[in-house]
Each structure stands twice: as structure tokens, then as C-alpha cells.
Symmetry: C2
DNA sequence: AAGTGGTCTAGACCACTGC
DNA sequence: CAGTGGTCTAGACCACTTT
């Protein structure tokens, strides 16, 4: 029943997935060891390994040396969503992109920012608030703080054509970071900039990034009312 | 400079990442072909392949047959976030979980639901609204519609101890789906259930799932005010 | 048509971990 | 200590794309 003609790791992946779905292997159940499966499918162990690894990465299998492979008790679904780069996001939705820098000054950063980035209180940072448009309509407000100590070059850049977002993506070798998504009520100021009503529910993304433990930037992006982030499972 | 003593695909992955970060290979630049890199690092092509594949999956490299490998122009960051299973989510945050079924009837589903799932208008579905608590405080309101044709067994289940969410995860072999995240203002009803104020910005997740093109369920989960979804990059 | 990445194999050794 | 998955290799063939 297993010996299909074409044996790719993907077909094995699919077959294992099928057996999990149809509860041939129920949650918590132990799977045959790799060698046995290789024998059953008539392929090499590497191929089995590849298929199983994908499933383990996806959170559907639990693999441990010596203990073997089991179907995860709680098949955690992981959604991989692409962090939107504003310009691409807007253009992907068919809009014409434009952005406007609202300020640019080096000042003492708010405690809220420095603490999130792990910088000492009272550190000076480059503040770059900006507004992004889609087809002329406000799309997103960006409140960005950059640590000039991490990227001195940024002090020289004019952000007229390139946004800070894009410049950083191209020039800051970002390696680690964390990100959070939330909902907030529009402040009067945000409402004004986003052509919304004060109190409107707005989708916000906040991101902090570091390079080798050196804080680079913290940015809070607040989207216009009605924004949705969408992805496949 | 490359011949380190221990050659794992991870060390090569790290080294390539380093070269991208330090702009040895700038965005858009072409990398040596796999065979050449294998020679440089003194390892087999498979190992190079593994390292490069991870980077390509992460969106940092662009690999195409015959065209070779390039550093992605727009290093898209992909965040993999785990879709929260309420109970685990609450418990992970240190709370005691409890849930309460608010209704359970088979009725004609709203057009909004049937159209999203691709079911015919006027189809009958099982409606399962529920409220989830953390330490006795309302945590999330769930508005779920299940297609009984896809899972007849669900009609027999009492959802007193197990939530529909958990039962489905265990029993519905979910294969495909889509999910969206948004911000909405609390309706009077939601405000009442979540101990919030009408108009409060609430974080909402909406998910639809199918098994082999058969619609299984659509669920809208609206979280209490202040909820954040967090992940690492 | 030719070049480059994608994948498979068979065998080997290693690293973790449960007994 | 012994069993199981993790990874590496060398070589081969295939699939996709660009020229």
C-alpha cells in the first residue's frame, strides 16, 4: 500500500500527514522508527528523515533521540506571516505608495523605548516619525527610534526617497528581534494623521531589533482603521 | 579563513549569514554556486545545500535553478507565530483556565460565514459561541460555526469539559486554512462579556479551516482589551 | 542545449537521552 | 550503556530555467 511509484520526501510527508489526519496515528501515538519506515516505504532513511523533520518543525511531530517519534499531543499550528515592508504591502494591495518624514531629531529617548531595547536611561536616540500613504490616503503611522551608536551612518541619510524602514532593511544587518501585535484605540493625534475618528480600533505592530546584542531600533507602526493582516496555514 | 574545525550545516549557515550582514554579499549580489562553496568550505554539496535552503526558506536568499543564488533584494522577515490554543495560552501566562459554552444550536448560518467558507447560502451549521476565562476573568470570546456535514461526530459531543477548540484540534484532521488578525471596537455585547467598555480596541483573530476542500469551521476569537500577541524573529 | 539547484541513496559516525 | 534521531559524505540523476 505504500510503494507508490514516485518516492519524494514530499510524498512521504503527505502520506504521514494523511495517517495523522485519519488517526491511524493518533495524538500521542508512537511512530515506527525511521529505519522501519524507510523499509516500509522502500526508500533511504535520509528521505524519511527529511519528511519527518518538516513535520516536526511544523509542530505536528515530536522527535527525540532514543525516545523516538510521536504525534504531538497538541498539534500546534504555526502560521508564518511575512512582516510587511510598507511599500511592498501597499503595492501588493494595488496602491501607489508614498511616505512622508514627520520629524528628525536626536533627543533623549522615552524610558519606555530605552527599557525595551535595554539601553541606559536617558540615552540619546534618533527619532524618526513618519507617515505612509496608499493612493494618497494615510495608511500607517510609524514612530521609530534608532540607536545612532549602532548605525552611525544613519545620521547622514536623507529620508526623502527611501524610508527609514527600507534603508534599515538594506543597511542594517538585522539578526535578532522581537515583535508584537496588538489593538489600540486611536489617540486624537493618530486619528488626525490617519483620517480616523478618535477611539477607532487600530492595528499596531511593535518591533525591536538588535545586532549582536546591540540595540538598533524600536518602531511602532499603527495602521489605518480596518487594516487586516492575513496569512495561510 | 573558512576552514573551521567543525563543519556543521549550522556553522555554514551562520557564516553565510555573517557575510550577508557585513555586506560581503550585498542585497542582489550573486553567490558562488553550491559546488564552489562546498570546495571553499571543504564540505559536501549536501551540507551547503542544507544551509542555503534554510536561508532561502527564511527569505534571505533567492535560489533558482540555472540562475543561481542571490541575496534577496528585500530580505523579507518572516515571523512564525504559534496560533494560540486558548487553554495553553492562558496557562502559559500563569492563569487558571476555564471556559463556558454560551449556546449550541443548528441554524442557518449567516451569509458572511457561508461565503467565507465557500458553502451554499442558507446552509445549516452548528453555532457554538463560548467564553474563555483566565483566573476567573473573561479572556476571550469565541464565535464558532461548524459544518456538521464535515464532522458529523461533533453533534454528539458535550462541550462541558473540553472546549470545541480542543475537540476539533484533536478530532478534526485540519489540513489547510487561513487566518487573519485585526483590531475592532468592542460592541456593547462584547464589552459586557469581556468586562470592557463599549468601543475599547480589541484584538481579533479569525480563522477558517478546510479538510480536503470541505469547509470545517470558521471561528472568530475576540480577546480582552490589552491582549498582545508576541513572537521572536 | 546547458547550467544550476533539488533530491535520493547507502553507509557511516555522532549526540543526545532514557533505562 | 544502548537505542534512536541528527548530520555528513560522495556520487548520481533529475527538474527547472535561462540562454
Amino acid at each position: 500500500m505504500a510503494q507508490n511509484d514516485i518516492l519524494t520526501w514530499q510524498s512521504i510527508h503527505a502520506e504521514i500527514l494523511r495517517r495523522i489526519s485519519t488517526r491511524v496515528w493518533a495524538p500521542g501515538a508512537q511512530l515506527p522508527k525511521d529505519v522501519e519506515l524507510a523499509a516500509e516505504f522502500g526508500c533511504s532513511r535520509s528521505t524519511i528523515n527529511r519528511a519527518m523533520r518538516e513535520l516536526a518543525d511544523a509542530g505536528l511531530l515530536d522527535r527525540r533521540r532514543k525516545a523516538g517519534t510521536r504525534v504531538a499531543l497538541h498539534p500546534i499550528r504555526k502560521a508564518t506571516l511575512e512582516i510587511p515592508i510598507v511599500r511592498r504591502d501597499v503595492e501588493a494591495r494595488g496602491g501607489i505608495y508614498r511616505h512622508q518624514l514627520l520629524g528628525r531629531e536626536v533627543t533623549i529617548a522615552p524610558l519606555l523605548i530605552t527599557s525595551k531595547l535595554g539601553l541606559e536611561t536617558g540615552a540619546e536616540m534618533l527619532h524618526l516619525p513618519a507617515l505612509h500613504f496608499s493612493d494618497g490616503a494615510p495608511y500607517m503611522v510609524e514612530d521609530r527610534w534608532v540607536n545612532p551608536a549602532a548605525i552611525p551612518a544613519i545620521l547622514e541619510v536623507e529620508f526623502t526617497t527611501t524610508s527609514a524602514n527600507e534603508w534599515l532593511v538594506q543597511n542594517a544587518p538585522l539578526t535578532t528581534g522581537d515583535i508584537s501585535f496588538s489593538a489600540t484605540n486611536a489617540t486624537a493625534q493618530q486619528a488626525g494623521m490617519l483620517q480616523a475618528t478618535e477611539g477607532d480600533a487600530l492595528f499596531a505592530i511593535e518591533r525591536s531589533t538588535w545586532v549582536d546584542d546591540v540595540a538598533v531600533t524600536n518602531v511602532r507602526m499603527t495602521y489605518a482603521h480596518g487594516f487586516k493582516m492575513h496569512t495561510q496555514l
